[in-house]
């Protein structure tokens, strides 16, 4: 069992949407007492990211990456459309990874 989840957040410029989505993810993880570390990335870096458990992107992109991590589209956290559903799926994924790791 893992005690901490490593998340990469990636958007086009690595700035605007990343900042917003990171804040929202932190909120979700804190509420659920899950230890985490989140690193910001640019979406062009996604294929070469290593050593993370989940990648959350703010826009559609290629899903292949060296870390072999699942890629989730975190746009709902940014727009607010479907945010609850995303949160549920995200937490399920996080728990699954932590229990298997």
């Amino acid at each position: 069992m893992k005690n901490k989840i490593n998340i990469a957040v990636a958007c086009g410029g690595g700035i605007f949407t990343t900042t917003v989505v990171t804040e929202k993810l932190e909120e979700i993880l804190r509420k659920n007492n899950i230890k985490y570390s989140i690193s910001p990335h640019k979406i062009t870096e996604v294929p070469n990211i290593t050593g993370v458990d989940i990648i959350v992107v703010t826009g559609k992109t290629s899903e292949k990456n060296k870390a072999g991590a699942p890629v989730m589209l975190g746009l709902p956290l940014f727009t607010g459309v479907g945010a609850e559903e995303f949160t549920k799926q995200f937490l399920e994924k996080v728990r699954e990874i932590m229990n298997n790791g």
């Binding site: 086009g12 410029g13 605007f16 949407t17 900042t19 979406i43 826009g59």
Partner: protein, 502 residues
Amino acid sequence: MEFLIRIGNAINSVMGIFGTAVVVPTVVLIISLIMGVGFKRAFQGAIYMAVGLTMFNTLLGVLFGGIAPYVTGMAENVGIQLPYVDVGWQGASVIVYSNQLGYIYLVLGLGINLLLFALKWTDTFQPTDIWNYYQFVFWAIIVQFVTGSFALGVAAAVFCNLIVLLIADIIAPSLQEYYGYDGVALTSVPQSGAPFAMIVRWILIKLKVKERHFDLRDFTQRFGFWGEPLVIGLVVGLIITILGKLNAVAELSTWSGILTVTLTIAGVMVIYPNVSGLFVKGLIPLSQMMNQKIRSGKLKREQFHIAMDPAIYFGESGNLTAALILIPIVFFISLILPGNKILMLADIPAMPFMTAGLIIVFRGNLLNTILTGTVWFSLCNIFNSDICEAFTQAAVAAGVGDKLPEVANAISQGLGVASWTVGTNPALWLVYKAFSAPGYTKIITIAVAIAVYLLIYFSFRKNRKAWYMAAGASEEFLAEKYGMPVAGASKSTGASGTSVQA
């Protein structure tokens, strides 16, 4: 108007004492508090913004200190005259928001956007994209510096805003269909390519040109590194410095300079996004607040589009591929293009933002996007070159040019600043031309501009479906999401017509 000028002047005198790095974040803090953002979040954002502004100016000094001699050298040695160094959208945002009109329009624009949305003049809710106001206010500031009239500047800003909203309304369904995001809109500068792409597509359809498709998806996997700021900085840095010292390229000492400055340019490119990231943080709480407001139902209506930062359109593999192929093409053309005076640099990694406006119209066709992009972005460089001098004046007025010795020195040698992305907007360039025509001629040119706008506006309102489809939306998508009946089929079976499920 008198009132605005008086407030502006009062702020300006405070600005003279404290500098833009203090005043601009304070203005943003006040707006945020008025709009109901919590103090802690608003204050935090303002501090980040102040830090970002300060560091941005420092970075610009480093860049100009290194690059200036090579830019002049390039003109002397190989006759490539590109005196206006592209300081990126980051540079444009700092310069616009540090000008009186820039921060005043944050308040004015917010009001106008809320009003236009409430009156249903537009379907697009723009306040969520408040951060990107600077991209069209940029042109209003050019008007102000060319005509010397603040009032004309304000009028131009409002008119540019109307055009931005009209284009956003027209391309929204196409954007939503291509990306598969419900209810989004694009009000930032990448939309500027869409009208041109629509004309090209219309011609291709009229000429019955067959569509050719290339599958290049592997390309992004292999060449993604080429879009990285570090690589672009190294490559462009080497080209500029070698061309700039071509006369002394055989001497060993020349190479120490070439390598140092190339590394400086690459370094600035790498750090740049982080600094502008700090700057952006000042406006994020406000943007999020507006997002919440529109979702909570106070302003909501049955059908609308919500303006989003273009970052969400960036990484889609078709878009990224087209952009990565266009980067070297557009850059090398810009070096030899007659009429171009811009040294493309800081905005080169932003190419995937700009291609989004083209690829949606061509429904993902890479060949059309790349060919059209080559012509379009090259043409835009020529229009953009026309206003670099005025933009440099705006930079000086914002305190970027006179307080930094490196930049002041470069400007005294005839160099200046440009922003490749923000200046890539010929429609708004035409607005600038109309608003700054000599003497009373401008009454006619402004009237013509408004007439053309109204003509397109009412044609669109009367015939939405045709315009939506010209922008790349499919009939099936419009039937499903917008409840627009398919031609020839029986009346719509009552698709709900809501594009946002809040």
